[in-house]
Amino acid sequence: MFNALRERIFGIKTSQSQAKSRLHLVLVQDRSGLSGDEMSDFRLDLLNVLKKYFVISDSGLEVSYQRESASTTLMINSPVLRRKPTILPSNKDTANKNIPNKDKNKVAVEAGKDKNEDAKKAVGNAYVKVEAKDADKDKDLAKDLADKKPGVAQA
């Protein structure tokens, strides 16, 4: 509890929470097979798409790759500052200026399977869930490994 408080008040991260966030990052890369550059391109593209429909902050976007039994789920989690008002071409500029930053509108968008705990997380967040069955990729990989003769891998 003290650690959690310390983190909140002073922004001092414990080595435990550093380990956790580093692992989350590295596992997204490992599981998705995307390189660091591809991942940042992906985030950028995502942000652009989300910004078309919601007012979101660039830093709040979280991308994770979660395993549920044999399938892997890509989770994109982003706080929604405000739902984008329907903008008429004439008052587009003023509409954008009037958006208060801290007003977190409770919008939950979910595509895909619904789960209770996921639904809880979705409160206050735009929550886009794309389920991507990844088992086939791993199967290919297992087969690749099987086909590889010893020594070839090192080359």
């Binding site: 509890m1 003290f2 435990q16 395993r67 490994l145 010893p150």
Partner: protein
């Protein structure tokens, strides 16, 4: 043995459950887990065979204190140099615990998946449980160890490199339709409390697979390795008790994994209530 003719082969014996104990990363305690869990199952009256599949780097024999009794090994059984019954060695501490040692002189790829599957198949009628100690890595040795297994136990330490490698192995096992269960080994609850070690919940959350046991870091494990008596035979050790609990869970008993609550202090519990921890 009771007549449980579930496999329909007419012999009236239930086939032993086969687990591969694996981790991806080396040095996380696979061999200790295999030996201790084997001992714990034997203590529960289950006929248990522990198999060393780490060809070229045999270690399970010394952890079990049976190094002086090794005559034949798994490669000899595969190549029909000896009979399956000649290669297994009975533990000094239990009549239910047997070891099938690895070969120390051969190369890792001296046997293939099909051969190891056939070897294990020959023991399945004789034993309730077969635990296969896999070599580290995800190459041929690992694949051989997995070939004969129905289920997998993934051993990980609560640290970054070990969890990353475990995650890789989970992916490969899923692709082979083997459902893995997780053993968190060498956790230090004081470090977790200080915020310097990943907690049980953290590891579970990151890996997303079933947890079957948590083993505390315990000096008795080193002592047990020194003397060649698996730590499960030492009822005073925390780790030994943890392995006994895991054995009960493997046997289908409902033993709650409660011991990691010890990692949460009074303040931690209060914090959780207040929503800050």
């Amino acid at each position: 043995m009771s007549l449980m003719n579930s496999n329909g082969d007419g012999t009236g014996k239930k086939l032993g459950e086969t687990y591969v104990v694996t981790s991806g990363k080396g040095g996380v305690g696979k061999t200790t887990v295999t030996a201790s869990l084997g001992a714990a199952l034997a203590l529960r009256g289950k006929r248990t065979l522990v198999v060393d599949a780490d060809i070229g780097l045999r270690n399970l024999d010394v952890i079990l204190g049976l190094e002086s009794r090794v005559v034949f090994n798994i490669v000899d059984v595969a190549k029909r140099v000896c009979k399956p019954s000649q290669a297994v060695i009975k533990s000094k501490k239990s009549n239910n615990l047997y070891l099938l040692p690895a070969s120390q002189t051969d190369e890792k790829d001296v046997i293939n998946e099909e051969e190891i599957r056939k070897v294990i198949e020959q023991y399945r009628r004789e034993f309730n449980y077969i635990l296969i100690d896999s070599p580290a890595g995800i190459e041929q040795g690992f694949k051989n160890a997995c070939a004969a297994a129905d289920k997998a136990l993934i051993v990980t330490n609560p640290e970054v490199a070990s969890i990353r490698d475990a995650d890789r192995v989970v992916g490969i096992l899923h692709a082979r339709s083997i459902e893995p269960q997780l053993i968190i080994n060498r956790i230090d609850f004081n470090m977790v409390r200080r915020g310097d070690m990943l907690s049980v919940a953290d590891v579970q959350d990151i890996l997303g697979i079933d947890l079957i046991g948590v083993v505390e870091r315990d000096e008795e494990v080193i002592v047990a390795a020194n003397t060649g008596e698996p730590v499960a035979f030492n009822p005073k050790s925390q780790a030994g008790q943890a392995f006994l609990r895991i054995a009960r869970r493997l046997c289908g008993e409902d033993v709650p994994i409660a011991n990691y609550v010890k990692g949460v202090s009074f303040w931690g519990r209060l914090g959780r209530r207040l929503g800050v921890a």
